[in-house]
């Protein structure tokens, strides 16, 4: 089984694609067979981040059944060990992928033979984004230290959590009545994390415990991107604290990445940032974040 790591953030421009591309590069350099998956269906651009302006095949060849298996749309990148499923050339309606197509793709992704699969998710909280997040029990939220970005990250965090809880509660006896006899399934459909949490209290203790354990097993990380010198370096840890205290689940802080104009320059020249500036401060931050993320995941596995 590959280790699947979805990377998302509420708002555009927070660095999802940047982080996906460069984490992939680091992992590939360490000798891990790594696949980058552009799951931002309506706004695919991961190929550009790693310096490929044109790709022969893309995800939609699989979705529209031009090819039989997902493996056939995987393309090699100029970097050894690094592979890509591109979204370049997705048709314009790609963002509105149907449920069947989505489930088929999700199942196929989990079967692919790679060490690591990094999913670059789109902004926003549509079910298409959330369900890619749900593909594994882990994920990275990335945000910039700005209210707009943080607001959307909270929204995303809560959506992911609520969806996971819905799944878990549905996995229990869906007909089990709670309180006034309304069926659990109906109540679970569209509630906030707080309401779902309160529902957990209504379950029998064994079920409650099983659910709590499943929720605790989730491994989410937070990365703060584009940190300027005057920004509070403690912002990330504090956000994690607030999430744990008020939303009741754990997100681990994985590090700050400083603002660096050279990132902009590398992207404009369509060169992988880590290749072009391997020793800049942002590159050092990236390496540290990578280390933190995968150290945490090994601890979680062991």
């Amino acid at each position: 089984m590959p280790y699947i790591l979805p990377i998302g953030g509420g708002k555009g421009g927070s660095g999802k694609t940047f982080l996906t591309g460069n984490l992939g590069l680091l992992l590939a350099k360490q000798g891990h067979k790594t696949l980058l998956f552009d799951a931002d269906l309506g706004g695919a651009n991961l190929h550009t981040m790693i310096g490929m302006s044109h790709t022969e095949r893309s995800l939609f060849d699989f979705v529209t059944k031009k090819v039989a298996t997902l493996q056939e749309v995987v393309i090699e990148t100029p970097i050894p060990n690094l592979f890509l499923i591109s979204g370049a050339g997705n048709p314009l309606h790609a963002a509105n992928i149907g449920y069947e197509q989505k489930m088929k793709t999700l199942k196929a992704v989990a079967q692919l033979p790679y060490d690591y699969i990094l999913l670059d998710l789109g902004a926003g909280t549509s079910y298409n984004t959330i369900d890619f997040f749900m593909l594994s029990g882990s994920g990275i939220f990335i945000t910039t230290p700005e209210p707009t970005s943080i607001e959307n990250v909270y929204r995303l965090v809560r959506s992911v959590y609520a969806r996971k809880m819905q799944q878990l509660l549905r996995g229990q006896n869906p007909r089990m009545p709670i309180g006034d006899g309304e069926s659990l399934k109906a109540r679970v459909l569209s509630h906030s994390p707080e309401e779902l949490h309160a529902m957990l209290q209504g379950l029998e203790s064994s079920q409650n415990q099983a659910l709590q354990e499943a929720l605790r097993a989730l491994q989410f990380r937070l990365v703060l991107n584009q940190m300027r010198k005057q920004d509070n370096p403690n912002l990330g840890p504090l956000i994690c604290k607030v999430i744990e205290r008020h939303l009741g689940f754990r997100v681990t802080f994985a590090g700050n990445i400083c603002l660096d104009d050279r990132v902009h320059e590398a992207v404009c020249r369509r060169l992988p940032f880590l290749e072009k500036y391997p020793h800049s401060s942002a590159a050092e931050d990236l390496k540290q974040v990578c280390k933190n993320i995968f150290m945490l995941s090994r601890e979680g596995a062991g």
Binding site: P145, E146, P147, I150, E151, Y154, R155, D180, E182, E194, E195, H197, A198, N232, L235, L238, I239, K241, V242, R245, H246, L247, G248
Partner: protein
């Protein structure tokens, strides 16, 4: 007209579970995320951090709370802080918690509480070497002039009550000694109340005792031996 028993969505939003539910159930210590034996310095630091997270313009919790939720949080934080930072009010509150059967890990203060100190003047430990320097010379003078100290040296066995008497004569609070020795107030209080059971080992008791005596500029070796003699007899 027959209405859904659940009520309208608005109704549910108001009466339903809130993001603050846990917060509302918590006591002052939990609200500020503090252990029950937190020092005034810890209390202030925890309050500062809470403000950093919850104040209206905070980036950390931006959009997570509504303005009225924020107001409620702020009120609870302020209440917790003003209670815990004030020694008398805190002792009262501790007794209240104890009566409710929710004391945290067995150390509500026993007996009479020491006089309250102006805690806002306290500095974080380690930052007051100058103050401490002055204090030490003054203390030495006071200790030498003190009749109680002289009579203690004449006693064969001394008790916690004796120590407390000396400390009060030197106008030192437990807080001040705690800051200098970095020993928690609960242990100092236990020394003065002869509550030996609180100490993890005999070694701890002796070294805490000596630090306490040294902080008061007393002859630590001689007095510790006298104090521990009583302790040995009791065993």
């Amino acid at each position: 007209m027959k209405r859904d028993r659940e009520g309208s969505p608005e109704h549910r939003r108001i009466s339903g579970p809130s993001i603050l539910d846990d917060f509302r159930r918590q006591n002052h210590y939990e609200v500020l995320n503090l252990p029950v034996d937190a020092s005034p310095y810890d209390v202030r630091r925890a309050y500062q951090e809470a403000l950093e997270i919850y104040h209206e313009d905070s980036l950390v919790s931006y959009s997570l709370f509504t303005p009225w939720e924020r107001k409620e949080i702020r009120a609870r934080l302020d209440e917790a802080f003003s209670t815990l930072i004030h020694e008398e009010r805190r002792a009262q509150y501790d007794r209240l918690l104890g009566a409710r059967g929710k004391p945290a890990a067995g150390l509500p203060p026993e007996g009479v509480d020491p006089p309250s100190v102006p805690t806002l003047d306290l500095e974080p430990s380690g930052a007051s070497s100058k103050v401490r320097g002055i204090l030490q010379e003054e203390l030495q003078a006071r200790a030498q002039a003190s009749g109680t100290v002289q009579s203690l040296m004449a006693q064969e066995v001394i008790t916690g009550a004796d120590l407390r008497k000396v400390r009060e004569e030197l106008h030192l609070s437990l807080e001040q000694i705690a800051q200098q020795t970095k020993i928690r107030v609960q242990f100092l209080r236990a020394l003065e109340a002869d509550r030996d059971a609180l100490f993890p080992s005999r070694y701890h008791l002796r070294s805490f005792l000596k630090a306490y005596l040294r902080a008061m500029q007393l002859d630590a070796e001689a007095l510790a031996a006298r104090y521990l003699k009583r302790w040995q007899q009791k065993l």
